[in-house]
């Protein structure tokens, strides 16, 4: 048979172009062999840097201070254990890692974790969820599938090989049925498989492009979706007998071109064959009906087309030439340890969805491809980057100085304008290329339709020919059968006649012989008619054969007419793909710059608010120092007033004394005056009496005595008067002094009340400023959280990632020591059932196998718990699983269901038991925090635990309350 093939040279040309572009991107041709040493990618000639260094260099922003500091040891061991093994470290491991002083201990830890059986398990389960999104196991069992993923991870199967195996497996070989799950458990439904190949392997969710170019993502084209569908549309399932078992396996028809139109632009048909985003329409051999299959489709038969589109897909997708494939692979593995993709969501990798550092993800994909898609090496390099080891806490000092930020913003503006110009130019080129493609497609469609028509006619004739040949063969068969019947009847008649001759006494035999001969004659008589019919049928074949031969010429003519048009279409498609690639790059640059500018704007707003806070702080300081001064002057005034009051008291007392002395003096004066007046009267009377009785000696004597007395009394009186005057003067002085002191007091009081008024005003001002400050610093706090998220989205701070349902389940097992208790008991059991010799114990290989066996046994016992966690924390089957959500029924589950409540009861060396045993509350707090959160408690936390435990009636009860509390904290729920 002859094969009609479309321009093999063009076929090769497209392939060559793909290769050239792969080389341009720096990718090596991938042969699937392991080559971990290629970890060191040559950069700028002789200098060699590891992938980790390259990533750190590439993600370093202009200002070094924006790249935060690194996390501490306990943060690192928790983070990397969760990311690589799906569970946190044990308390003892966290403690000893902290204490370890080996310089290279982080790298050594990573090696240890990656060599562990739980790492294999975690990665296998992660790949399961990534690839199957919790679809039910309808045709392939979960155990079989996980076992295949486990062995793939263990042998470090390259990513492209993993994908290739999943696309190629048809499930017919019982030993290799597991990888067929990818397609079989999607029901081999072409749309489902096409969409998920887009999502899982190209990072493009083309669902919206199913019926029209995506209105939301300019890069997601209907042709992309239809091109993928062209790969998957020939697939279907058949049920085969494997012994007495019915087994559903994948089968494949010969593929045809698809015709489609946009629901937004009905009436403009488009056509596509197999096409991958980024490579364009792939040319493939075309076989005529009747020549398409090695094994044709039939009931219970696995059909094998001569040209398998599934094989084509497996090859083209994974051969290293497809940038989208490489980019997606790198992004998905990145998300395994970083909790989010470089670009996010994982199935929305398009030019408007920028990640950091423009084409960083594409370059990362190229490097991953160049390593031979070495998953183990890639993950290891990722966790050894400084980028992975970033600290979690937002440090204000990590934000650059305002001047630098402003300048950076201005520079970005200039760069953005430049990038936008480039993008516009790229867009123009892309539009031109698209127009050329559309024209080529429009030219092709009528010819293609014509070809399909004549091909259809040919197929019809082929069917007729098949039928005619069958009819001829059937008719010939009938003649043969009849002839043999006639021959046998004739022979029987002859035998019967012979017998009748021999047994002439038996007349019945003669009758039988006669009848046989009669029948033989009858049958023989039918023969010519049958033969004629057979001849007619045989003759009918020829014209159909002739027709087919004629039609073949027509088909070949149509084919020849179509061929250059398809070449032209392929050429324009390649040009369009190339232009689209350029546009993508330019758009990434624009989008990244826009993101950077937005972040820059956020930083600037943050800095503005920060300076507002600082300004407010200064004002507050000034107000507070003024307040202090006022306070001091009040204090001074108060002090002075006390002194004045003392003095006033003294003065008042003195005045009182003076007054009473004065009063006493006045009293004495009055007495003296009274007495003087009496004596003076007496003297005057005596004087008068002496006039009458001049010589009365007695009288004279008396008068003299009175005068003398009077004189003495006058002196006394004068003394009294003088004393009184003195006292009056003293009183005046004391009063004046008191007045002075009083006025001093008045002055002091006025000053004090003034100061008091001033201080009230100052306090009010301070309160206003404080309110403002609280509001502003609250705003600054919120902004710092927003900024922290923005930084972490660009990997300048550690990302916050919720534990997956599986991680949560295994983490609960780990911190409640359930996991390690199972490991211990399985180890004992296995050592008893199959003891190891000393020699075996020294054999690393044997010991590794033993660890795998133990892990498998523990997994088999504990896996029954996973569905519960999936039910509460997982996404729906077939839906993206990365989205976080929190709901009341999760909290109700951990609060009230039996499981977690029973596991926090002190037992099996778990944290609560260690707490109960600890005599020192500090030690108890350490056991609690190390056990659940893998870190030492802060002082505040120690105090909290101490307070809870001290004087507790039931320490065990309190210990389990605290353990439950930590298990349900945000810090446990999120890796960070």
């Amino acid at each position: 048979m002859r094969t009609l093939s479309l321009e093999p040279s063009l076929f090769r040309f497209v392939r060559l172009l793909a290769l050239v572009s792969a080389i341009q991107f720096g990718a090596q041709r991938v042969l699937g062999d392991d080559n971990p040493d290629s970890a060191v990618v040559a950069e700028g000639g002789n200098e060699s840097v590891s992938l980790a260094q390259w990533i750190d260099g590439r993600l370093a922003t202009g200002s070094a201070s924006e790249n935060g500091p690194l996390c501490n040891d306990t943060e690192f061991i928790r983070r990397v254990s969760l990311d690589l093994t799906g569970m946190p470290p044990t308390a003892d491991d966290a403690r000893s890692f902290s204490a370890d002083t080996t310089a290279d201990k982080r790298r050594l830890l990573v090696d240890r974790l990656m060599a562990s059986a739980v790492h294999t398990r975690h990665l296998a389960l992660t790949l399961d969820v990534m690839l199957m999104e919790r679809r039910p196991n309808t045709l392939v069992s979960q155990d079989e599938w996980i076992a295949w993923l486990m062995s793939s991870v263990r042998s470090n199967k390259p990513w492209n090989q993993l994908v290739r195996e999943m696309i190629l497996a048809d499930g017919d070989d019982p030993a290799n049925r597991a990888p067929a799950r990818f397609i079989l458990d999607r029901g081999a439904e072409p749309n489902v498989v096409a969409r998920d190949i887009g999502r899982m392997f190209l990072g493009m969710d083309l669902q919206c492009a199913q019926c029209h170019d995506s209105p939301l993502v300019s890069d997601f084209l209907q042709a992309d979706y239809q091109g993928l569908l062209a790969f998957t549309s020939p697939m279907y399932t058949v049920v085969r007998k494997h012994g007495d078992k019915d087994v559903t396996v994948l089968s494949e028809r010969a593929g045809t071109d698809l015709t489609f139109e946009s629901v937004f632009a009905r009436g403009t048909p488009h056509r596509t064959g197999t096409r991958l985003p980024g490579t364009g329409w792939i040319d493939e051999p075309v076989y005529l009906p009747g020549e398409e299959y090695d094994v044709a489709p039939a009931d219970g038969v696995k059909a094998v087309p001569r040209f398998s589109r599934r094989k084509l897909l497996a090859e083209r997708l994974t051969d290293g030439s497809n940038a989208a494939f490489n980019r997606n692979a790198a992004n998905r593995l990145w998300s395994v340890v970083f909790g989010r993709g470089v670009m996010h969501p994982l199935d929305m990798l398009h030019p408007d969805n920028a990640g950091p550092a423009e084409t960083f993800l594409d370059e990362l994909g190229t490097r991953f491809c160049a390593s031979g898609y070495d998953i183990r090496w890639f993950l290891k390099e990722l966790v050894l980057t400084r980028t992975y080891q970033r600290a979690f806490d937002f440090e204000e000092s990590g934000v650059s100085q305002p001047a630098i930020v402003t300048q950076a913003g201005e520079e970005m503006q200039v760069r953005l304008e430049d990038a936008e110009r480039t993008a516009r130019a790229a867009n123009d080129q892309y539009s031109a290329a698209s127009t050329a493609f559309d024209a080529a497609e429009a030219a092709l469609i009528p010819v293609s339709t014509e070809f399909e028509t004549v091909r259809g006619q040919y197929a019809e004739t082929w069917k007729k020919l098949t039928e005619a040949r069958k009819a001829a063969a059937d008719a010939a068969g009938i003649v043969t059968t009849k002839r043999s019947t006639a021959d046998q009847a004739l022979a029987a008649a002859t035998h019967a006649e012979t017998a009748a001759g021999l047994l002439s006494a038996d007349p019945e035999l003669a009758v039988i012989a006669g009848k046989l001969r009669e029948r033989a004659a009858q049958v023989t008589a039918e023969l010519p008619a049958l033969q004629a019919a057979a001849d007619e049928k045989a003759a009918a074949v020829k014209p159909v054969e002739d027709l087919l031969a004629t039609q073949r010429v027509t088909v070949e003519a149509a084919q020849a007419k179509l061929s250059p048009l398809r070449s032209e279409l392929s050429r324009t498609d390649v040009a369009r793909v190339e232009a689209r690639g350029q546009l993508q790059k330019a758009s990434w640059r624009v989008a990244d710059l826009k993101n950077q500018m937005q972040l820059n704007q956020e930083v600037r707003s943050y800095l503005a608010v920060r300076s507002e806070v600082e300004g407010a702080e200064l004002v507050l300081q000034r107000l507070e120092s003024e307040q202090q001064q006022l306070k001091k002057s009040i204090d001074d005034s108060t002090l002075a007033m006390t002194a004045i009051a003392d003095r006033m008291q003294v003065a008042e007392k003195e005045l009182g004394t003076v007054l009473s002395s004065m009063e006493a003096a006045a009293g004495r004066l009055a007495v003296s005056e009274q007495r003087y007046a009496l004596v003076a009267d007496a003297a005057r009377s005596l004087d008068a009496a002496t006039q009458f009785v001049p010589a009365d000696e007695g009288l004279s004597q008396t008068r003299l005595a009175a005068v003398g007395q009077l004189s003495r009394m006058e002196t006394l009186l004068n003394q009294c008067r003088q004393e009184c005057d003195t006292m009056t003067e003293m009183h005046r002085v004391a009063s004046a002094r008191l007045e002075t002191v009083k006025s001093e007091m008045q002055t002091a009081q006025t000053a004090l009340s003034q100061s008091q008024q001033a201080i009230e005003i100052a306090v009010a001002a301070i309160n206003v400023e404080k309110t403002k400050m609280d509001e502003t610093s609250g705003r600054l706090d919120s902004m710092s959280h927003v900024l922290a998220s923005s930084f972490s989205n660009r990997f300048q701070l550690s990302t916050l990632r919720p534990l997956s349902p599986e991680q949560l389940c295994w983490s609960v097992f780990r911190v409640t020591t359930v996991y390690d208790r199972y490991v211990a008991s399985e180890r004992v059991e296995l050592d008893k059932a199959a003891p190891l010799t000393d020699e075996q114990r020294n054999d690393a290989g044997v010991m590794a196998t033993r660890e795998q066996e133990i892990e498998q046994r523990v997994y088999d016992k504990l896996k029954q718990y996973i569905p519960t966690y999936v039910q509460f924390y997982g996404g729906g089957a077939g839906q993206p699983q990365g989205d976080f959500y929190a709901s009341a029924d999760q909290a109700l589950f951990t609060s009230n269901a039996g499981q977690i409540n029973s596991w926090v009861v002190p037992a099996g060396d778990n944290a609560s038991e260690r707490m109960v045993k600890a005599t020192d509350p500090r030690k108890a707090a350490e056991e609690l925090y190390l056990g659940i959160l893998s870190r030492m408690p802060a002082e505040e936390e120690v105090a909290e635990v101490t307070a809870a435990l001290e004087g507790a009636a039931d320490r065990a009860q309190v210990a389990q309350e605290l353990m439950w509390g930590l298990l349900n904290s945000a810090e446990f729920r999120f890796n960070h």
């Binding site: 610093s777 919120s782 916050l800 959500y885």
Partner: protein, 429 residues
Amino acid sequence: MKLNYPCRTAEHGVARRQFLRGVAAGAAAIAGGYGLCNPAAFGETLRSQQKRIVVFNMHGGLSQLESWDPKPGVDTGGPFLAIPTSVPGIHISELLPLTAQQMHHLCLLRGVNTSEDDHGKGAYLMMTGRRQTPAGEFPQLGAVAAKTLSPEDSGLPGHIVITPGGGGGRGNDSAWLGPKFSSVQLGNGNPPPNTVRPENLSEQSDAARQDFRRRVTERFLNRRRTAVTEAFAYSYEQADKLMRQRDVFDVTKEPASETERYGQHDLGRHCLLARRLLENGISFVQVSHSNYDTHNENFNFHIEQMGEFDRAFSTFVADLANRGMLDSTLIVVLSEFGRTPNVNLYYGRDHWSRAWSVCTAGCRMPRGAVFGATNERGTEVVEGQVDHGNLFHTYLQSVGVDSTGNFNIDGREMPIADPSSKPIEGLLT
């Protein structure tokens, strides 16, 4: 320098609450925001006007001829009569005498044509408003209602499905709206699981551990506060609210006289529970009545089933009307399809999606109305033809949701209802 601004002041508490509200909006953007309404606006003011939807799902396919669109006296009509209702001129099947007395509240849509005679596919399109496509699921009406109608701060789930039997759990019916909006299934009307504190845990002990959890979480949130961490912290408060309101789910708290009024059977209890749930602000409740797939003995079966339904449903409608809840509650009685006008050899009717009926009431649905009509023998729609897409749009419009808008799910715009369809024109008041 670590941020050390005062974080424990009352003012900051206010700021934090504001932040939470902002976060609620952010969370909506992350977990799928409803672009057309601001979740932050779902406060006390709106709560009083909160709209709700209740769906009576008549599994298996209720016969329109034995219920909403009787055709007595023709060869396809079956043995039952049509009776007058509280609305002059409108007649329904004599199997629904009590419901007939509530007709002034109802709006019958008699021109439904969904062109899908498969149980699974029919149920899918009636509940999602779209035909099933191979690559991609759509959220059910209950999930859309929970997302658009439930107050953000409600402690109760927004999407409840009361299943006829079996255990509870969570349905897989919210597609890309995410599990937050998937149904909480109340198996045979029992309260949701894990809503009772374990017996060996005292109230004090529970309070102590929750208090410790809250403090530890708050410390972590001071380090990094995002929509995601806030949502996580809040889920425990929601759980607490739900436990406190557990009685909402407990229909035995209703007086025995109420149970008597609704009927002493599962459907009666479920309808009473539905009323209780709606009264307590749950946005969407689905009650199921099984199984109407009457390929055999259609008539005997409908006598029995309609008897149960008539009593429970009419009491439900009357109660909602009396309690003033009809303005805020949309009632929909639907099936996956109707039943053939032709009566088969086994006195049964088979699957029929070309001309059947849906009964609605409340919100913006006209009261005491019939929209659309079938021909004399009930074999074709002759007026007011609508399909699942029109119905879905109309339900949402009726409760005030712009069904032509989009959800923003993780950066993707997802049409709320089938963008190639539209609400029924000129129906809503």
